[in-house]
């Protein structure tokens, strides 16, 4: 078991161009499940591949435990990786696939058999050990890929979108299984996904990346409650937070004929007001919204509408399911929690 430390780690694909990963500083604690999340092209996979040694580190260094592994070959890093397409060896049985890495490491035959058996038991794969990957379902293949990582008993698990090839139902199931398994094994895990729901439900902590820069690392709860900037605020949470630009006048921003009070920002300055759909209540007065669509979920409902002012921006509001609001209605909503961000590209949090 070990922690993982990125120290100013950078990756530049073409010299002079924008780095894919820029001066990343990140510590993954011992036994922690850390999720790297961000839109495609944000550098999350590159970060993982740098840690695996499949991608060179162009600046800074990476440590596993006390060991600087920056220039070390992948096989000497004591890691195991699970890929999105599983990368199973199709001509070998499940057992051979799982035991192969140990064989090359010179582990005794009995020991290999024992470890493969243990992993198979853990993953419910015992009856499939003699099958070839071809004869397995997507979920089973995914478990074989996990098993292959587990039998190696590495210091760090690396997972690159391992659930993306599964169908929606299986993905939710496997999500909980992997998270539970990781807690049980207690192996430090770095997990890459583009799905923020996966990130929020699985990770002890979540690191949000954008354009090669680390935006924020925190527990799922804190990312949701206290996003550091407008990007994180918009990325975390489903449906996404409403981010509306406006000008501060007398301690508030007028949106849809309603002055949303903000305590930050000088008069006349431009800011971004962030309001989560679930942090707004229907009321007799407030932001006027024209309803375009009501998404009934049973427990509650989401109203997708446009703000009834010159901006005509889209807004999403969560309401009670039995409210009787329908298409074409006009409703008024009042935010009960407002976040304020800088309106520049960085979008820093102000309150």
């Amino acid at each position: 078991m070990a922690n993982v430390i990125f120290k100013n780690a950078s990756r530049v694909y073409t010299p002079g161009a924008k780095p894919a990963v820029s001066e990343l500083n990140l510590t993954v604690n011992d036994g922690e499940f850390l999720v790297l999340v961000g839109p495609s092209g944000c550098g999350k996979s590159t970060t993982l591949r740098m840690l695996a040694g499949l991608e060179p580190v162009d600046g800074g260094s990476i440590f596993i435990g006390d060991r600087d592994i920056t220039g070390v070959a992948p096989k000497d890093r004591d890691i195991a990786m699970v890929f999105q397409n599983y990368a199973l060896y199709p001509h070998m049985t499940v057992a051979a696939n799982m035991g192969f890495a140990l064989q090359i490491a010179g582990v005794a035959k009995d020991e290999i058999r024992r470890r493969v058996q243990d992993a198979a038991k853990l993953l419910d794969l015992e009856e499939y050990l003699e099958r070839k990957p071809k004869a397995l379902s997507g979920g089973q293949r995914q478990r074989v890929a996990m098993g292959r990582a587990i039998v190696r008993e590495p210091q760090v698990f690396l997972m690159d979108e391992p659930l993306s090839n599964l169908d929606a139902k299986l993905r939710v199931q496997t999500r909980t299984q992997i998270a539970a398994l990781q807690r049980r094994l207690g192996v430090t895990t770095v997990y890459v996904t583009h799905d923020q729901v996966e990130a929020m439900t699985m990770g002890d902590r979540v690191a949000v990346l954008k354009d090669g820069f680390l935006q924020q690392v925190d527990t799922p709860r804190n990312l949701y409650e206290n996003p550091a900037n407008a990007f994180v605020a918009g990325f975390i949470g489903s449906p996404a937070m409403n981010l509306l630009e406006g000008t501060v006048t007398d301690g508030g921003v007028v949106i849809g004929g309603f002055k949303v009070p903000v305590e930050k920002g000088t008069n006349g300055s431009k800011i971004i007001v962030g309001m989560r759909p679930e942090h707004m209540d229907m009321s007799s007065q407030g932001i006027e919204v024209k309803v375009n669509l009501v998404e009934e979920l049973g427990s509650d409902a989401y109203v997708h509408g446009t703000i009834a002012d010159a901006s005509a921006k889209d807004i999403t509001v969560r309401i009670a399911s039995n409210s009787g609001v329908k298409l074409g209605d006009k409703i008024f909503v009042k935010p009960n929690r407002v976040l304020v961000f800088d309106s520049d590209a960085e979008g820093r949090r102000l309150n």
């Binding site: 096989k75 397409n85 990368a87 199709p90």
Partner: protein, 284 residues
């Protein structure tokens, strides 16, 4: 579409195509038409030369195995046959061995001029073989490769290596790069990974490639004949030199023809499964 038809369609995709009631009969008719020249050749090989020249005769009235006996006992015939087998096999092994790493590099790495080089390989096949006759003849005379099976095998690599690289590259690119990376993390060196994991994964591609190399080398006449004289004379060359003072020996010539078709039939038989797979997967 109802659910039953969908399930049926999944179970047997062939069923989706409309099948004609007499398609089975048509198949056999077409095969029969195609087989006429081959069958004719086989029949000729077991009839005496005199009968062949006498006139049209569907069922042979006299049967003789003289052709085969001569073919298998006369050094000039079976020797030439063995020569062709030797250099074709040698060429296949060498072409595939050389093409495998090349195809892997083209598939997995990017290097200066890789795309141009890849296309340039094909241009080697654009010139007629006759263009290369003189250089080969001259070079081989100088280095002592003239009239050797190895020489013919090397000369044929000029055509077969580009072909092999193209076919194999298609198959290799069909294997996800993550497999290579998993092996790297597992601790495999590149050569060991290549032999223990990669080759078994692309074995159908190798089968298809080997088949094509063998067949191209087997049927090639011009170069093989020019750079050999007696020691490494190919079977196809032997066949063109059967006009003797006694005239053509039709039976013997037909026998040689039948024998020449045999390796092709055998090769097809062994790789027929892979060929179909190759059409689906790679670049055949």
């Amino acid at each position: 579409m109802t659910s039953t038809t969908t399930t049926k369609g999944v179970l047997s995709p062939r069923k989706k195509k409309a099948s004609l009631p007499w398609s089975g009969l048509m198949f056999w008719i077409i095969i029969a038409i195609w087989m006429i020249p081959v069958a004719w050749l086989v029949l000729m090989s077991i009839r005496p030369s005199a009968d062949i020249l006498a006139g049209l005769e569907i069922i042979p009235s006299r049967i003789t195995f003289d052709g085969y006996i001569t073919f298998l006992s006369k050094d000039i015939w079976y020797g030439a046959y063995l020569n062709s087998l030797t250099y074709s096999t040698l060429n296949t092994v060498m072409s595939v061995t050389v093409a495998l790493p090349a195809a892997y590099a083209f598939s997995r790495f990017s290097f200066a001029g890789d795309k141009h080089l890849f296309f340039w390989l094909l241009t080697n096949r654009m010139a007629p073989a006759a263009v290369f006759l003189l250089p080969f003849f001259n070079m081989y005379k100088a280095v002592g490769l003239f009239d050797t099976n190895l020489g013919v095998a090397i000369a044929h690599m000029l055509f077969n290596v580009p072909l092999a690289v193209w076919i194999l590259e298609g198959f290799i690119s069909g294997i996800p790069r993550e497999v290579d990376e998993t092996a790297a993390i597992d601790g495999y060196s590149l050569p060991r990974f290549f032999i223990k994991i990669f080759l078994p994964m692309i074995r159908s591609g190798i089968g298809v490639t080997a088949f094509f190399c063998f067949m191209f080398s087997w049927v090639e006449l011009l170069i093989a004949r020019t750079i050999t004289s007696t020691e490494a004379k190919p079977i196809s060359a032997a066949m063109t030199r059967t006009v003797t003072s006694g005239g053509l020996d039709w039976t013997l010539l037909s026998t040689a023809g039948v024998m020449t078709i045999l390796p092709g039939i055998l090769a097809i038989w062994f790789v027929r499964k892979y060929i179909a797979k190759g059409f689906a997967l790679g670049r055949v």
